[in-house]
């Protein structure tokens, strides 16, 4: 009864809005406010992407002289040549796959280990977190150039100088094909583990402490707590780190470009030991101006990253469904 008496007082009667307030509530205002972004997005993102898709089916060098170098459709010619005949592309794809597997897996382990080691909120850990995070905010080119001095061959390189003090003969770090990808993986972990650590730390701090307390009461040891609480609850962060890490790893460029050039302007180092997809794309697009062919390389790279990301998400989801 009392409710009935009170109810009319609580009922909401919308007041009629006028002028600006009426306009801001209408859909038009939202679209108008979105328009600048949408316009820029269409011009600078969607159009170039669609253009590159079109170019990937063309012979195109931007000059397109009618008589000397006509540009035109080649159908799937660029794709079939890349996939079936281009041995340098195959080498680049193989090298990149090895690099991605190594850099993402070991990078994930390094980030997770760092975050677990530095989880406690002590002064020393805070300082260490900053130190480990620093490479992530340092210029990539500068870092690669420093690594170049570290791995320099002969007895001039920092690492070789260090080894020589122990009587070890100089190692041809950047001229030994079997060392090229491990070096690039090492550089990637050194540069990226700190960023992954920060993400994992955020994930770890979001896990309620009561889960661990309950597990301790139930007799779970540290290993069980890590396996049955930490790892499952960190899965979203892990998926994010793996996907962004995979995308980043597929796009490796500076390290190869600066550390593994050849003396006559090509990219990839001795025996193409460090040739990766993006440097190869750059070589085709900007050293040779085969822009159509380079676009096809870019779309194949996109297809690979898209498929791997999709598989990653699906696998993670099915694992969750199984639980």
């Amino acid at each position: 009864m009392a409710i009935k008496q009170i109810a009319p007082e609580l009922s909401y009667t919308p007041t009629k809005k006028k002028g600006f307030y009426k306009f801001s509530d209408s859909g038009i205002a939202s679209y108008l406010m979105l328009a600048p972004f949408v316009l820029l997005f269409l011009v600078w993102a969607v159009y170039p992407v669609l253009s590159s898709l079109r170019l990937s089916f063309m012979r195109y060098n931007a000059i397109c002289d009618e008589a000397l170098s006509p540009c035109g459709s080649v159908g799937f010619g660029n794709y079939t040549y890349l996939i079936l005949q281009d041995s340098r592309f195959h080498k680049a794809l193989f090298n990149t796959s090895l690099y991605v597997i190594g850099a993402v897996t070991l990078g994930l382990l390094a980030s997770l280990s760092l975050s677990l080691a530095l989880q406690a909120d002590t002064r020393a850990n805070r300082v260490l977190r900053v130190i480990f995070f620093l490479p992530s905010v340092t210029s990539g080119i500068a870092v690669v150039l420093v690594w170049g001095w570290v791995f320099r061959g002969d007895d001039i390189g920092l690492l070789n100088s260090l080894l020589s003090t122990f009587g070890v003969a100089p190692v041809e770090w950047l001229a030994t094909p079997s060392l090229a990808i491990p070096i690039l993986i090492f550089m990637s972990i050194w540069g990226g583990a700190g960023f992954g650590m920060v993400l994992f730390l955020a994930g770890l701090n979001a896990i309620p402490a009561m889960y661990y307390e309950a597990a301790v009461i139930d007799g779970a040891n540290r290993r069980d707590r890590f396996r049955y609480i930490t790892l499952p609850l960190l899965k979203p962060v892990m998926v994010y780190v793996v996907i962004t890490g995979t995308i980043g790893a597929f796009q490796i460029f500076e390290g190869v470009y600066l550390l593994f050039p050849t003396s006559v302007g090509s990219i990839g180092g001795l025996k193409d030991m460090a040739l990766m997809i993006v440097p190869y794309l750059y070589d085709m697009g900007f050293n040779r101006f085969r822009l159509g062919y380079a676009s096809a390389v870019a779309w194949i790279l996109f297809a690979i990253i898209f498929t791997i990301s999709l598989i990653n998400i699906r696998v993670t989801k099915s694992l969750e469904d199984l639980r």
Partner: protein
């Protein structure tokens, strides 16, 4: 107050524009923009030619900008695509053929440049700038870079080698002796084209081989090619030449210091050396070794000079006039004065002009001139530009891998044929 300040600035700018307008229209200056591929010193050398041209042509200003070797070709093509950029550029020998074939460059024949310059420069270097089967001329030689053999007389003397090796057999014997000398870390050092097609070139051609024959049939994988590649491998396997990426600078210092025995590099090393060690007499150069009974055929590179296709016809004529001025001995002298002061001695494609280089000792100058006589430029065959990586990759599979010389060269030949 703030508004008053803004108004004052606007008035001053407008007044300045009004005052300067008659002056600008009275002395109309035509600016020729030249992109010089290389370092800042190379741009300064070109600048000397620009000043000479400005003095001879009032109302013309030559603006020289340096662009790097790494992305120079891409910049030139990007300029051609956007139809804005330089009027003239210097760049790699093959750039003229490849950019010209894309329609980026002006044909130099109707401008009178090609016919006037062709008789002045070595035929083989002129040929390297003209596309096979092409009648058009998109570039003429601007300067030369020549592969040579460098050594220190003291090191050879310590090894019991009395003179520079002339034949490949003599070279192998000398390198083996040098290797045994105390203090020599690497008996041989390849500085230019280390482990790639360019480094292999001189060994191949000096053995009587070639990448293609005169009709552009691929010949790299014949018996001579295999012998030459086998010899090239000796440099790494027997004489400790450092692989690419191990140590690639200070060749001169290391030869002078006795760490490296014999070095193979371009004449730019002589330029650099004689700028720093003017009074040191033991460091010298010799032609690259040749197989018994064959000529010493060094790789000859350098830069070509071209006019962009989008430049208006009247300006193309002015650009052509500027290019022609580069083959004048007084202009070359002026360029060499600037070059010597900036560690970038200019080697004109007019061989006799080498005598204007005051910085080189007589024996080095004689070697340069002798080596120029039979030197060969890069092939001008269709597909060569795109085959270079394949050839390098194949060569390296033999040099630093387990593939046989014949298999490596067969793979290179297959790629060269497919690119043609």
């Amino acid at each position: 107050m703030k508004r008053l300040g803004v108004i004052s600035v606007a008035v001053a700018v407008a007044a300045g524009a009004v005052i300067s307008a008659p002056a600008n229209s009275a002395t109309k200056v035509t600016t020729l923009t030249v992109w010089s591929t290389g370092g800042d010193a190379d741009a300064l050398v070109m600048g000397a030619a620009g000043k000479a041209f400005e003095a001879a042509n009032p109302g013309v200003k030559v603006k020289v900008e340096a662009i790097g070797w790494g992305d120079g070709y891409a910049k030139v093509l990007a300029a051609a695509a956007s139809k804005s950029g330089p009027d003239i550029f210097t760049g790699g020998l093959s750039w003229g053929i490849s950019a010209g074939d894309k329609g980026a460059l002006a044909d130099l024949r109707p401008l009178g440049v090609a016919t006037s310059i062709q008789p002045k420069v070595p035929a083989q270097i002129y040929k390297a700038l003209i596309g096979y089967k092409s009648s058009k001329v998109y570039a003429v030689p601007y300067d030369l870079t020549l592969m040579m053999m460098f050594y220190d007389k003291t090191t050879l003397k310590n090894a019991g080698v009395t003179s520079a090796p002339k034949t490949i057999a003599e070279f192998n014997a000398a390198a083996a002796k040098i290797k045994a000398v105390s203090g020599v870390k690497n008996a041989v050092y390849n500085e230019w084209g280390n482990g790639d097609w360019l480094g292999f070139f001189s060994w191949l051609y000096s053995s009587g081989g070639s990448f293609y024959d005169a009709k552009c049939n691929v010949t790299i994988n014949n018996a001579t090619g295999v012998d030459a590649l086998t010899q090239y491998k000796k440099l790494y396997a027997d004489f400790d030449a450092p692989k690419p990426g191990v140590a690639d600078w200070s060749m001169n210092d290391n030869i002078k210091g006795g760490k490296y025995g014999i070095g193979f590099s371009g004449n730019f090393q002589a330029s650099s050396y004689y700028t720093y060690y003017k009074d040191y007499k033991n460091w010298t150069a010799a032609p690259v070794p040749a197989a018994a009974g064959k000529k010493s055929v060094a790789f000859i590179g350098g830069r070509g000079i071209s006019i962009m296709g989008y430049v208006p016809a009247t300006k193309q004529r002015l650009a052509a006039k500027f290019i022609s001025s580069l083959y004048n001995v007084d202009v070359v002298k002026a360029m060499n004065v600037v070059g010597a002061a900036n560690n970038a001695i200019f080697l004109s494609p007019v061989v006799d002009f080498a005598d204007t280089i005051a910085s080189y000792p007589a024996d080095v100058l004689a070697t340069i001139k002798a080596q120029l006589k039979d030197a060969q430029g890069p092939p001008n065959c269709i597909g060569w530009e795109d085959s270079q990586n394949d050839v390098t990759s194949a060569v390296q599979k033999y040099l630093f891998g387990s593939t046989s010389a014949q298999d490596a060269l067969d793979a290179a030949a297959k790629a060269m044929k497919s690119r043609a």
